[in-house]
Symmetry: C2
Subunit: 339 residues, 2 copies
């Protein structure tokens, strides 16, 4: 089973170990396992949203090859001066439609709103498990690969540690809050509106803009205009899912015009009911953090993100690698090519 | 001209702006610009190490399309609540041999030692410039592309800020030192030796091992066995370059057997003579930090790192991106494909 290891010098978590092998049928590439009628290729549903005809419209099930496993208790252990824990968590696949080959941007606004509501409900449900410190919801779209790549879906990871990039946001938001007693995101929003060079769109309750220090060309963020640290709490209000669906759909359409490949991630507060969190930034997070969605078009040459930014996944442990590398006795060098 | 922008929420620097276009001759792909006799394709040498025949054996020149530019003073500016500075720095190419198509691992130990001495001398020289806070030396090897990709070379970046990944190491090394008054790397070395499961090789003065929380399969680190925070100072001692050349050559040979593609980076202390550094970790760095070399085999699917880890390079500014995205008026959606 995979485990989480902490690098004590860079303070980053690595998931080390093998992922279970995919069953052959799932990986056959002949049929899309996410299409209706192919449910036998996937594990049983955790959640289904039914259509008027009584069949599922949206379906959530555990990943067949999960990075994190839900069974057992969190087992923290030292290994000399190192820290590890078992990769306890959840890894779910959310199939957003029955229709093969349709992107989220091509859904109707009402359909997008329904997907958003399922996002919200899955996050709320997973956060009821106090072993999990974070729920990370993301989607990748447009990669080449097996037929399931063309079927609109998202991935949900519940993790016993907070992903590095999100944790950095928590830390620095609190750092700003301690000096100003204001949310840094709210301050950025105000400044962007005063000089709207980077704003792309504003609808009721939401705004989208290209962040000042965008990491990637055409990186686009969607923020609620009113302060809220929690995607899932904010989306409880009546009408909110429709408001977000409106700007999410148009943002995805814009990005799709840049590149058919994209990735999207929701940054929300950590699990406020997690067991004994020790980090300082937990204390003021409701005031200093501001949930948002990040959308990035991908180029063919871009890395394939399998894990949240700030995590690494390494299927070969350091001990296994050392065995192989030691055995690769470098030869004596031999003659070098002449100029 | 490119500029550096700070993301205030994640505290990471992004290089934003266009790189100068490569001259056509350089980019033609017909001839390798790094081979002897083709020096006219590249800028004049900054440094040359001559062979017995009076011709260069190792050659360093500025990159034709630099990420950082050496001209002018460091210009820090606010932009509302944001921070930016010009991308002042240096970007050099070190051609390690006259011979085309030979990898560093295929050099003789003496030749590797000579390359290491040039690494040391370039870092020492660039650190004499007090505008630079860090000198980042790395090599990528084995990628497909123009002929110059097959000619052994390294890149040297001098930067006005410390790359994020290295800064994280400085911060957490100091965090450990404050509690223990010991170098965390020295403690790890001692522990690895007591139970040498992850050790790959030990030679006089150096050790190589797979780090406990390796991010990538077969990631390999080389550390001096005696404490030293500075690659360039450590390599001043007589005989040190040969000791390092020995283990560097064999480490590269091992990794080449895993993958012909690899990358290598030297992590050393920041420029201790930099103008008014404000970070706390500068104070104890000579005691708490330990220089090392990281080597990682690359897979075809791995990201192409053009910039140090922790930096991003984005050729399209947020303002330019917003103009394009706003203009991409999402259409009304149209008819959706039927199931």
């Amino acid at each position: 089973m995979a485990e989480l290891r902490l690098d004590p010098i860079q303070r980053r978590w690595v998931i080390t170990g093998k992922r279970p092998t995919l069953p052959a049928a799932f990986d056959s590439g002949v049929e899309c396992p996410f299409c209706p009628g192919h449910e036998h290729y996937t594990p049983p549903s955790i959640y289904e949203r039914k259509g008027a005809d009584g069949r599922w419209d949206i379906r959530v099930f555990p990943d067949r090859s999960p990075l994190f496993r839900i069974e057992g208790d969190l087992d923290r252990a030292g290994e000399g001066m190192f820290d590890r824990m078992n990769a306890l968590g959840a890894h779910e696949i959310l199939v957003a439609t029955r229709r093969h080959g349709v992107t989220l941007a091509q859904f109707s606004v009402e359909e997008v709103a329904e997907v958003i509501q399922v996002y919200r409900d899955r996050i709320l449900d997973l956060k009821r498990d106090h072993r999990f410190r974070y729920v990370y919801l993301f989607k990748v779209q447009g990669r080449s690969g097996p037929p399931s790549q063309e079927h609109s879906c998202s991935q949900i990871l519940a993790t016993p540690v907070v992903p590095g990039v999100v944790e950095a946001e928590f830390r620095w938001s609190q750092f700003y809050f301690r000096r100003k007693e204001r949310c840094i995101f709210c301050d950025i929003l105000q400044q962007e509106r005063e000089s709207p060079r980077r704003i792309v769109e504003e609808v009721e309750g939401f705004i989208s803009f290209c962040p000042y220090a965008a990491r990637f060309p055409y990186e686009l963020w969607i923020l609620p205009t009113e302060h809220s640290s929690s995607f899932e709490q904010d989306l409880m209000a009546p009408g909110r899912a429709s408001q977000l669906a409106d700007i999410l759909k148009s943002s995805l359409r814009r990005i799709e015009r840049i590149s058919p490949r994209l990735r999207m991630v929701i940054h929300t507060e950590p699990n406020m009911d997690a067991k004994r969190p020790t980090e300082d930034w937990w204390k003021t997070i409701r005031e200093d953090y501001h949930w948002h969605i990040e959308i990035v078009p991908e180029l063919e040459t871009d890395p394939v993100y399998l894990v949240p930014e700030g995590f690494y996944f390494n299927p070969i442990s350091a001990e296994e690698a050392a065995v192989v590398l030691r055995a690769l006795e470098p030869d004596s060098g031999g003659a070098l090519p002449e100029e």
